[in-house]
Amino acid sequence: MKGFLAGLKLEMRIIRSGPDALLPLFTAPLFTIIFLAIVRNGGRHDLQPDALMAPVLMTLWWFALFQGGNLITGDRWQGILEWALAAPTGFASVILGRVAAIMAFGFIGFFEVWGVGELVFGVGIPFEHPLELVLTIVATMFAMAGTAVVFAALFVLTRNAYTFTNSASFPFYVLGGVFVPIAILPGWIQPLSSVIFMSWSADLLRGSLKPEHIHDFWGRLGMVILLGAVSFAIGRAVLALVLRRMRVTGELATA
């Protein structure tokens, strides 16, 4: 727990010290305006919840991918990784704490979207199923954090992580059904999307903002949690494997 709290506090301080890390919080309001403008201009006021939830998910994803994904690589390039591993506290718990802090900052996007919708278009977040909405958000952040741990572990293996992060966002937005529901995408994409937790999250988030009954809520929420748990398990295993391998090959440091 000490490692988790140390990581949480460290990342809070790092993010506060560097506004560039908060870039997605500047783009979230812009995406909100774009998406709301599109659906309203198309006369599809029923899709306003979709337009509100898309920037929320995109912001969380950005934080997970860019901030979370580069945690270990950043430590390695700064010459910190080796000495963090030589400390008594387990490194994985520190990373989890840092990812949790990142996700907490990412959640600020939810309130931004809400505020911008209200201010610019007079469209608030319709809390039709508040309990379901809260549970879905919590489960989504959990799964997002798990994904960030996987990215963090994998990105250490490559020198081109930034290339990947720069190009991977939009495919995941499509596959995750962030703005366009999976159901209206070509059929062959749908099996691929079903293993991406965001596709389940996005549907549930949209559903919880609409008055209709949410079909099979608990089952679908379970899928988000399950996929998140799998991500965590994979992330921890990959992290342990990568760090053990680097101790053997002597690649923990970059110089």
Binding site: L5, A6, K9, Q78, G79, A84, T89, R247, G250, L252
Partner: protein
């Protein structure tokens, strides 16, 4: 009698090439070393000698290819969890810190990693910042620190866990002479607290001034382990005599004395090398009889031993 603080047995570390065309590097070749508790031990060698590799192995961040290393009886590979709380690591250079955070925040993070409570972390950070002379800069970002200040923060970081064994790898890199002298005083204080210190350096003065014993290492092999004073005997068992004011006739007579191996002259002074027991006395008698009183006898310095054993290879690694 307590066991050694550090015991290295036949440790070899080979770095395999990532590409076929690169050569494999033998960073350590069957290195054995024992450091008793409470000793300040210098690890001297040029760049690429294997000093940092040994420090990394002892710090549990690198696995040896073969051999065993133990810190206070704990194996660094099999019992890494037991080793980590009892060691502290300090290294040279500017990396290894979060530059956007303040010195205090950096120390608080490392204190938490060493499982100190929140209050203890803050107290310890305050003490250490004071000890390394950074208290008035404690709340400035590290990116605003000079190189020497970063180095002092590294030292504080290494001490945050109250380690029994400290590994210092080129710790005075970037420090000005005064700061380096303060640092050496601090090392003396740490020894007084009963800590064992392994100091990897290529600074002869540093090693000579603070170390109880030094190990000379080059190309992954240990060349000698001695106290800095007696290490001179590795290359010469006999003293040298430095004189001023000896004329050519006297130097010629000195050359004929039994046991005088060589005489070198520079700017009115001369160095007489002897290679036999008793030769020093005969040389001194002749000098005093000739009225030369500016005479100094000495053993080879650590720097001379270093150059002799490792070779003067310029910038070559």
């Amino acid at each position: 009698m307590p066991g050694p603080a550090v015991a290295v047995e036949e440790v070899t570390r080979v770095f395999e090439p990532r590409r076929k065309r690169d050569a494999r590097v033998v960073a350590l070749d069957r290195v054995s070393l024992e450091i008793p508790q409470g000793e300040i031990h210098g690890l001297l060698g040029p760049n690429g000698a294997g000093k940092t590799t040994l420090v990394k192995i002892l710090s549990t961040v690198l696995v040896p290819t073969s051999g065993r290393a133990r810190v206070l009886g704990h194996d660094v590979v099999e019992e890494a969890r037991e080793v980590r709380p009892i060691i502290g690591i300090v290294f040279g250079g500017e990396r290894g810190l979060y530059w956007r955070l303040t010195g205090r925040q950096n120390l608080e993070y490392w204190g938490a990693l060493y499982r100190l409570s929140g209050g203890e972390t803050r107290r310890r950070a305050q003490q250490l910042l004071e000890r390394v002379g950074l208290l008035d800069k404690a709340d400035e970002r590290v990116e605003q620190y000079s190189r020497g200040m970063k180095q002092r923060l590294h030292l504080a970081r290494g001490l945050v866990g109250d380690a029994k064994v400290l590994f210092l790898d080129e710790p005075t890199t970037g420090m000005d002479p005064l700061a380096a002298r303060e640092f050496r005083n601090l090392i003396g204080e740490l020894k007084g607290e009963g800590r064992t210190i392994l100091l990897a350096t290529h600074d002869m003065v540093e090693a000579e001034n603070v170390c109880n014993r030094v190990t000379l290492i080059d190309r992954g092999t240990i060349l000698a382990t001695e106290s800095p004073r007696s290490l001179g005997r590795v290359i010469s068992r006999f003293q040298r005599i430095d004189v001023e004011g000896a004329d050519q006739e006297l130097l010629t007579r000195l050359r004929t004395l039994p046991g005088v191996q060589a005489i070198s002259e520079t700017d009115g002074s001369a160095r007489i090398e002897v290679a036999e027991e008793g030769a020093t006395g005969a040389v001194l008698k002749l000098l005093v009889d000739a009225g030369v009183t500016s005479v100094k006898t000495s053993l080879p310095s650590l720097e001379e031993v270093y150059v002799h054993l490792i070779g003067d290879r310029g910038l070559e690694i």
